[in-house]
């Protein structure tokens, strides 16, 4: 048994180790590149939902309703096919006949970023609620501008409060990247599927795929714990 399995997982021409490793790198890089988009958009949506301006509140609420209600896989398909069809139609309208193809990585980044933003806005809103109004009032009394208040007074406290929730969303994002394999991204799951089909060892390779995800989750859980401790270090423990 041992002799059958080990060469399959080795690196090199016969083994699938290097393909799986590349899959893992692709999974992590997709999640990492989605993060800035999702965080920025999520923060803006949270600001919109807290705004006094009704039109902003309406737009932000509509955003979260849509992207929290749609299945992630459907969002992915809507972006992947919708953008291709929409762009082709737009180009045809101005007289360019061409087939637009967007890459699976980009489609995954946009779709997962939108979903992440919708959930992150909830996390940010509850973090905002955890910061006393006195903070911004005091800052205003000191004559500090609104932008500086947000940047130097509110945000440092906000991220400490939002970190546990954002950490959870990060782990969910990491797992959701597996969906992008359906539209052809060579991530962990797709590489395992290929290996399973070629070697006829489906149980082995899907177990290994699960194991890699599990290891990634555990590593990031530890990292998030470290980050939380770092953010908490200014806090007096009672």
């Amino acid at each position: 048994m041992e002799n059958d399995i080990l060469p399959l997982l080795g690196f090199g021409a016969d083994g699938w180790g290097d393909q799986l490793l590349w899959g893992a790198i692709l999974t992590v890089s997709l999640a990492l590149s989605t993060l800035p988009l999702g965080l920025t958009l999520g923060f803006l949506v949270a600001l919109g939902r807290r705004s006094e301006e009704r039109s902003l509140r309406f737009s932000a609420t509509l955003f979260t309703t849509i992207f929290r209600g749609l299945p992630e896989l459907l969002t992915l398909f809507l972006i992947y096919y919708g953008v291709q069809i929409g762009l082709s139609a737009a180009l045809r309208a101005i007289g360019i006949e061409t087939v637009v193809e967007i890459n699976a990585f980009a489609a995954g980044m946009i779709a997962l970023g939108l979903v992440f933003a919708a959930y992150a806005s909830e996390v940010f809103i509850s973090a905002f609620a955890g910061i006393a109004d006195g903070q911004s009032e005091a800052s205003r009394a000191l004559g500090i501008g609104r932008l500086t208040t947000m940047r130097r007074v509110i945000m440092p406290q906000l991220f400490r409060l939002a970190l546990p929730g954002l950490g959870n969303l990060w782990l969910i994002l990491l797992k959701d990247t597996a969906l992008v394999s359906v539209i052809g991204l060579s991530d962990i799951l797709r590489q395992s599927s290929i290996a399973a089909r070629v070697t006829q060892e489906a149980l082995l390779f899907y177990s290994i795929a699960c194991l890699i995800y599990l290891v990634l989750s555990l590593i990031f859980t530890l990292l998030i714990g470290q980050l939380e401790r770092r953010f908490d270090r200014g806090l007096v423990r009672s």
Partner: protein, 289 residues
């Protein structure tokens, strides 16, 4: 606006001025002008409404009785399959979650350890990978499964989907239940012990009802998440709402296939959310002051 200022000046009119300062009415609230936030908000709302109008216009323009007659029943069938899958899985998962949660709460490592491993596995790996593991992975063991007489079960994508989803949601529901049971104050257990109630009766009649009230909201979220996640069974050839949608798209190459699915999914989730609010309001009416 002017009515309130008249009212407030009348109220303060008869009072002597304090420290020589004449009492004045509160200033009028600042009028809603065209602030930057307002302009931006209107612009964003306009873009949103524009996109929605465009999608609506698109759906109306491509609407054909032909498409509806041909594919409408497929959508309804898919919708029913999705609801059935989620309903059965949530039910089985709920039954499995109770012993799991109790094992997680137990101080005995022999119970606690395996339960922790179970929840870590199902919460730490993507549902789609778990589904592949069961459908393709166990499917590769067909000779072994045939010999123990379980092949009929793991041969069908539909059974595999129910199997995986039940195990998956059981892990999440166990965590919800564990958290909820821990919120019940210890005094409840002590009081019930003092009244001579057995441990099982205490759990069934005192702890569990209070815990389930706390767990109601997370349970609702879990069902919504499961409805959304159920779309992935389309990949293993189950014709749920997403599966039927993919079929329709592959036949018609018509993008409206996905838009109808989106509307249906949004509708299910929104209806469920409303129903859950009503249910929660009703079940917690004795807690309202």
């Amino acid at each position: 606006m002017s009515a309130t200022s008249i009212g407030s000046s009348e109220a303060t009119a008869g009072m002597p001025p304090a420290f020589g300062i004449e009492a004045r009415p509160a200033p009028d609230p600042t009028p809603r002008g065209w602030s930057a936030a307002r302009i931006g908000g209107y612009a964003i709302a306009a873009i949103w409404l524009g996109v929605l109008a465009l999608l609506l216009f698109y759906l109306v323009s491509v609407f054909s009785p032909e498409f509806m007659k041909r594919y409408g029943p497929r959508y309804l069938n898919g919708l029913w399959t999705t609801l059935l899958l989620v309903g059965i899985s949530v039910g089985i998962g709920g039954l499995l979650s109770l012993p799991l949660a109790l094992a997680r709460l137990s101080a005995i490592p022999f119970l606690n350890g395996p339960a922790l491993a179970y929840t870590t596995f199902f919460r730490g790996t993507p549902l789609i990978a778990q589904t592949f593991l069961v459908y393709y992975g166990l499917g590769a063991l067909n000779a072994e499964l045939k010999s123990i007489g379980l092949w009929w079960f793991f041969r069908e994508a539909w059974y595999c989907a129910i199997f995986t989803f039940s195990l998956h949601t059981a892990a999440y529901q166990a965590e919800i239940l564990r958290g909820a049971i821990r919120t019940v104050p210890n005094g409840q257990r002590e009081a019930s012990k003092a009244m001579g109630l057995s441990r099982w009766t205490t759990f069934r009649k005192i702890i569990l009802p209070q815990a389930l009230i706390v767990a109601l909201r997370p349970y609702g979220n879990e069902i919504v998440l499961l409805i959304k996640a159920s779309a992935i069974v389309a990949v293993i050839t189950v014709y749920d709402l997403m599966g039927q949608t993919r079929f329709v798209f592959s036949r018609s190459f018509d993008f409206q296939a996905y838009l109808w699915a989106a509307l249906l999914y949004l509708a299910i989730v929104e209806v469920l959310r409303r129903l859950w609010d009503v249910l929660e309001g009703r079940l917690t009416r004795h807690l309202k002051r």
